[in-house]
């Protein structure tokens, strides 16, 4: 079937539209973060964590269902400006997500197939998946403080997609003619989106944990104090990051296994240590190590968060470096 050029054109316009909306959201979230204050002070968090660690030693796991004070960052009435900016940011974020979703849908209609057959399309889908994961998470809790740190990687991703990775709408190479494209690649995209959000939380946790530790030790908050003062407490960040990682790890496992089933049908073996497979395996092992680290005394906390970031590093490496610079069977970047 031929390519519908006007749909392909419209898809490109929608990507630019969504990038504009993301940029505006970034501005709104910046104001929101600048004006936002957390309700529980850094000192309170630090001392609560010190007390809670006693509970952990008693054998119970910290659950944080009922923190002594609300730690969600929302500016109170005196800081209405920041709150309004956060709300505007959330609305713009949803708008941008919908525009990007539209761009992806039009791209699929233009080529009469699922629109994730090359790196450009995969990058659009990954950006969409990150935004959607953020949007869904924000339905149940106030995440206005997180918006800025989500919108930045999404904009970077889309910028790369439009400049370096751009590929005209076209049909697929024969190896991708399979319903496993819908299963394996979709699972990988969803995982990439959610792992991006989780890695962002782990990085923010490291900032907050560092600052709280300094305060608990009686030192000044340091350079990062300003940022930490606008985030939830370290233990909350860590817990949210862990929950996303734990929820996504089975799906990542499934994505790898679905890939193996597809590889068996396409290439005659279910596992062959193709560079892409190798890095998917490395990513899986690192995230497995993260889950174990969080259950190991002496590793939970900062060390575990570094392991999570390492896992995300492996994903990024697998996506950009392996796709573009290492030749293997997964050569679908569409770039020459």
């Amino acid at each position: 079937m031929s390519i519908n050029e006007s749909f392909a054109q419209a898809s490109n316009f929608l990507v630019y539209g969504s990038m504009t909306a993301y940029t505006a959201a970034m501005g709104a979230f910046s104001i929101s973060v600048a004006k936002g204050r957390r309700i529980e002070s850094l000192e309170e968090s630090a001392s609560r964590v010190a007390n809670a660690s006693h509970q952990v030693r008693m054998g119970a796991t910290l659950t944080l269902d009922t923190p002594a004070v609300s730690t969600s960052v929302s500016s109170d009435d005196r800081l209405g400006e920041g709150r309004r900016a956060g709300n505007i940011g959330m609305s713009l974020m949803w708008l941008a997500t919908m525009l990007l979703g539209g761009a992806i849908a039009l791209r699929g209609l233009a080529a009469h197939r699922l629109p994730w057959g090359n790196m450009y399309e995969f990058s659009l889908a990954a950006g969409f998946s990150v935004s959607l994961a953020f949007g869904i998470l924000s339905l149940k809790r106030d995440l206005r403080w997180l918006g800025l740190f989500i919108v930045i990687p999404v904009l970077l991703d889309l910028g790369l997609a439009m400049t370096v990775l751009y590929t005209e709408a076209a049909q697929l190479v024969p190896a991708l003619h399979s319903y496993w494209l819908a299963i394996h690649v979709t699972a990988a995209i969803v995982c990439m989106g959610a792992f991006t959000v989780a890695a962002t939380l782990s990085a923010l946790y490291l900032v907050a944990a560092r600052v709280e530790e300094r305060i608990a030790a009686g030192e000044s908050a340091g350079k990062l104090g300003g940022l930490a003062g606008r985030l939830p407490s370290a233990d909350r960040l860590d817990l949210l990051a862990y929950r996303i990682h734990a929820f996504m790890f089975p799906l990542w496992t499934f994505a790898v296994i679905a890939g193996a089933i597809w590889a068996e049908a396409a290439w005659g073996r279910y596992w062959g240590w193709d560079p892409k497979e190798t890095w998917a395996f490395i990513t899986w092992v690192i995230y497995a190590a993260y889950l174990h680290a969080r259950a190991t005394v002496g590793w939970r906390g900062r060390k575990a968060a570094y392991v999570a970031l390492l896992g995300f590093g492996a994903i990024v490496f697998n996506y950009f470096i392996v796709n573009m610079y290492v030749s293997g069977l997964h050569s679908y970047s569409g770039l020459h």
Binding site: E168, A170, T253, Y270
Partner: protein, 506 residues
């Protein structure tokens, strides 16, 4: 002597305890990830043997050292095996005792109620006039019917749920062990081979017909099922125009296949992603190319060679190279050639095809005379000419139907047309079904182990000095799952329905 024995036993116990600790497992996981990295950065013999030989040629000093360190066979190297075997020993040493422990817990009753419930993470309390003997049995059955395992004593009820979390955890780790075993046995009992088949030619499944054949260590050749097939037609479609001009869009190979030499032939189409599954063996379409047809005659006009010669593609547009060897002429005759499916007309920069489909097929030939070197007893590639003892007698370009009169009256070469060929990978892996089932059990177990919350709940009823009863409900989560307080409040609500709160009389 006995002392030495005890000391050794103590050491062994210490080593075992270290090996099976979570800390060691963590370090081994990191090592496993780290050990995999060179496998993606250096070319590997398993996937690209040609690149390995190229690398060794390009790096005459570093290459052999890297080779000694198994860096071109990372995933078959002793050090990689050492890491994953240690990891799996560590895993087994951790999982087996935990399985016994978990089995015990399933049989046993929920634990005793702690003395001080108010110290627990989630705690609800109230006073009621309902008596202990009225409340306890009702609470017990209410909790039981909401899925809790309940133990009730004189003054308290203890309940636990979420055992499937640990069951899933153990299932996941055991499934990983099964996958490892399935991969090992599948490799040892299986075999894989590749073969190039030209249109109109056939293949019968026995070892001599393969171009390459790699049996597993425990594979015996009589395990090859006696099927055979003929390639009747190969079809390819390519993107025309645009950024991805020439990219492949569809491949298919029509074959006539017989399960046994005497069985009736049936028509099957093999495509990428659509292998032929036959008698526990799978036949995959993995590549294709062109086989130009030549008729070579000697000086007397006798046909000395007539066939379609398989040429191997060198680039995405199927600029292909190959040779024809005619050993029965004196002196012997060899022809090296390029086949271009779409020649550009301008060959000033060497013969290069412009498009993978045969829109303007052409061959560029060079003829060699001398000794082909076939009698030395050293096996020769059928795709290369050994020109050490030969001299070039001429070059020519031909379109289909054209004939080249060789210089010095050495004979003629007629380019009569071309056929397409397809390469097939034929594999047998009896372990893959087990690996697949184990993989899905692993996902199932993993999901349980990460998403099922394991919780303990207690209700204690204490008689107070004023005759009323103090009701305390408390919960403990053994995981970081959210909603413990909600759960405690829900169970407390069930109790309150039986034992309503009365204001205390202080």
């Amino acid at each position: 002597m006995a002392k030495v024995f005890t000391a050794t036993a103590a050491w062994l116990r210490w080593i075992w305890r270290q090996l099976t600790s979570m800390r060691t497992a963590l370090i081994l996981l990191f090592l496993l990830a780290l050990a995999s990295v060179p496998g993606s950065l250096f070319p590997q013999r398993g996937t690209s043997p040609l690149k390995v030989s190229q690398y060794l040629r390009d790096h005459p000093f570093a290459g052999p050292i890297l080779d000694r360190l198994s860096l071109f066979d990372v995933f078959a190297s002793p050090w990689f095996a050492a890491v994953y075997l240690l990891l799996f020993i560590s895993l087994a040493g951790c999982v087996l005792p935990r399985t016994l422990e978990h089995a015990k817990q399933i049989v046993q009753q929920p634990p005793l109620a702690p003395k001080n419930l108010s110290r627990l993470a989630a705690y609800v309390t109230w006073t009621s006039s309902v008596s202990l003997s009225d409340a306890l049995p009702v609470v017990q059955s209410a909790w039981k019917s909401s899925g809790w395992r309940v133990r009730s004593e004189d003054e308290w009820v203890s309940a636990e749920k979420g055992y499937s979390r640990e069951t899933g955890n153990l299932l996941f780790h055991l499934a990983l062990l099964v996958i490892l075993v399935a991969v090992g046995f599948g490799g040892a009992l299986g075999a894989k081979g590749t073969v190039i088949v030209r249109e109109g030619s056939g293949f019968a499944n026995n070892v001599t017909q393969y171009d390459t054949f790699t049996p597993g260590r425990l594979f015996s050749n009589d395990q090859l099922p006696p099927f055979s097939f003929t390639l009747t037609n190969f079809k390819a479609a390519y993107q025309l125009g645009g950024q991805q001009n020439g990219a492949a869009r569809a491949f298919s190979a029509d074959i006539k296949v017989r399960n046994t030499p005497t069985a009736p032939a049936r028509n099957v189409t093999i495509e990428v992603n659509e292998p032929l599954r036959i008698e526990g063996t799978s036949v995959y379409l993995v590549g294709h190319g062109y086989a130009p047809q030549f008729i070579v005659r000697d000086a007397k006009g006798q046909v000395v060679w007539q066939d379609a010669a398989v040429f191997l593609p060198q680039d995405g547009n199927f600029t292909s190279t190959g040779v024809v060897k005619a050993p029965d002429t004196v002196p012997q005759l060899g022809i090296q050639g390029f086949f271009l499916p779409t020649a550009s007309g301008d060959s000033s920069r060497g013969p290069r095809s412009m498009f993978p489909a045969p829109n303007n097929p052409q061959v560029f030939l060079s003829a060699w005379s001398g000794d082909l070197g076939l009698d030395g007893g050293i096996p020769q590639s059928v795709y290369q000419l050994d020109t050490k003892a030969m001299t070039r007698i001429g070059i020519e370009e031909l379109k289909p139907g054209q004939t080249w009169k060789l210089p010095h009256g050495r004979g003629t070469v007629a380019f009569t047309g071309f056929k397409e060929w397809a390469s097939f990978s034929i594999t047998r892996d009896p372990g893959k079904g087990f690996a697949l089932v184990a993989a899905f059990l692993a996902i199932f177990g993993l999901t349980l182990s990460l998403l099922v919350p394991r919780r303990r709940m207690w209700l204690r009823i204490t008689k107070q000095s004023d005759g009323s009863n103090l009701f305390e409900v408390a919960g403990l989560s053994k995981t970081e799952a959210p909603g413990l307080l909600d759960e405690v409040q829900r169970l407390a609500q069930q109790v309150k329905a039986i034992a309503p709160e009365v204001p205390s009389v202080d």
